[in-house]
Amino acid sequence: MATRENASAISNKGLQRLRDAYNALLDLDDERGYQHFAGIHGLPLPIQCKHSTGALDILFLPWHRAYLHFLELSMQDAVADAAIPWWNWTSERSHQQGLPTAFSEAEEPDGTANVLRSVRLGLAPEWITRLRNHPVLRGTITSGNPARTRRDPDPPDELPRLQTLRSIFQAPSYQDFSRRLENVHGGVHGWVGGTMSQVPTAAFDPIFWSHHSFIDFLWHLWQQSPMGQDPPPNLLDVVLDPFPMTVRQTLRIENLGYDYAFTVAE
């Protein structure tokens, strides 16, 4: 059972496992690698993430749960017990310093560049060229070679507040909860800016996974709460392509081999 820790209070071992796992996956150019997983959400086409779109909107939470689960399995193939920490952007610390230190410091303790701060984009050169020629998307990546992820965050106190989450937790239906949480989630993408700000590039930024780990954690908490409900029955057997998993199979995280550690005070 892997334990997802608080990114702002992550243990040294957990942080080292995370960095080692991301570095290992960045060295893989096949379907187990970091670039492959980042590209599922965005470029190269097809863009396969599920956000609010017509009848699909309530697949946002289960699709991203499956997404993180499959990345985490690949991480654990490389580094035993590696897990994706969650970034609580409502915490007092986040409202003072913004991104967790582990994701913002320039260097790792050994002096190498911090893999959690920025990674290269493993897209084919023609995609990089198209991004750089694009009036909007060119701001999502660095101008140097190789192209790397970048951020341009807003002031920390602009992050969502705990009060907003309390409101979301009062949602009377699964659809309502999902829509409200997705809305706040989108604001955090915009807050980080750069690579995270647009769908086609967002998942290349390492903070993406910890942002969604927190979204998943919140869904898990809501599921445990008196208000928690499953998605409508007609959706339970929908397959969350490209993952060979149905909505029903995502509903209990204990069946997916991970849990959340949330007793560490911030």
């Binding site: 470029l43 909107d57 809305n183 989108g186 700000s197």
Partner: protein, 179 residues
């Protein structure tokens, strides 16, 4: 319970800002709402990411206006955008697809979205001041990659309809899914 009326849509003095003139009076018969949703349907999300800040009865707002209920701020919604089409002809056009009973593909990912602003607090603020709801002003703000570009968005926010729906203040009815 629903409050609705004929709306007049007009552009603001600042590019991108939209005003809807309404005629909704809340009296003691329909004030017993536990929830008030402004429901935007047909919202486009094919371009750059943006947010829409919604103000009631205050047309003199822009992206710098403080988000406080005293200024009529009702809430905001976020559109996490696809950044424009990166595919070939018809790739990002949901209508390009043929319809067929044998089509088992998932729905087109760029079908328009429905966005909801929970406006009960702002609406109650108006009621308590004895004021009717006269206008809804939408301020679109770019969520651009670069912070310096996070300003008024002109031409990005496109939607088909907006409705105000009030829910009676009873727990059982709160389970109604907004349509």
């Amino acid at each position: 319970m629903a409050a609705s009326g004929e709306c007049t849509k007009s552009g603001g003095k600042r590019k991108g800002i939209l005003h809807l003139a309404l005629a909704v009076t809340l009296d003691d018969d329909n004030i017993d709402f536990g929830r008030a949703d402004l429901i935007f349907e047909g919202v486009d999300h094919s371009q750059i990411s943006y947010e829409v800040r919604v103000f009631l009865n205050n047309k003199r707002v822009d992206h710098t206006t403080e988000r406080e209920v005293e200024r009529g701020y009702a809430g905001r919604f976020i559109v996490f955008g696809h950044g424009g089409c990166m595919g070939g002809r018809g790739h990002c056009d949901p209508d390009y697809r043929q319809t067929s009973p044998f089509d088992h593909r998932p729905p087109h990912p760029l079908l328009p979205q429905t966005k909801i602003v929970h406006a009960a607090g702002a609406l109650m603020h108006l009621y308590e001041a004895g004021k009717p709801l006269k206008s809804v002003t939408m301020v679109p703000v770019l969520l651009a990659p670069n912070r310096k570009d996070r300003t008024l968005a002109d031409g990005v926010f496109r939607f088909e309809t907006v409705r105000l729906k009030l829910y009676p203040n009873t727990v059982s009815v709160m389970n109604i899914v907004p349509v």
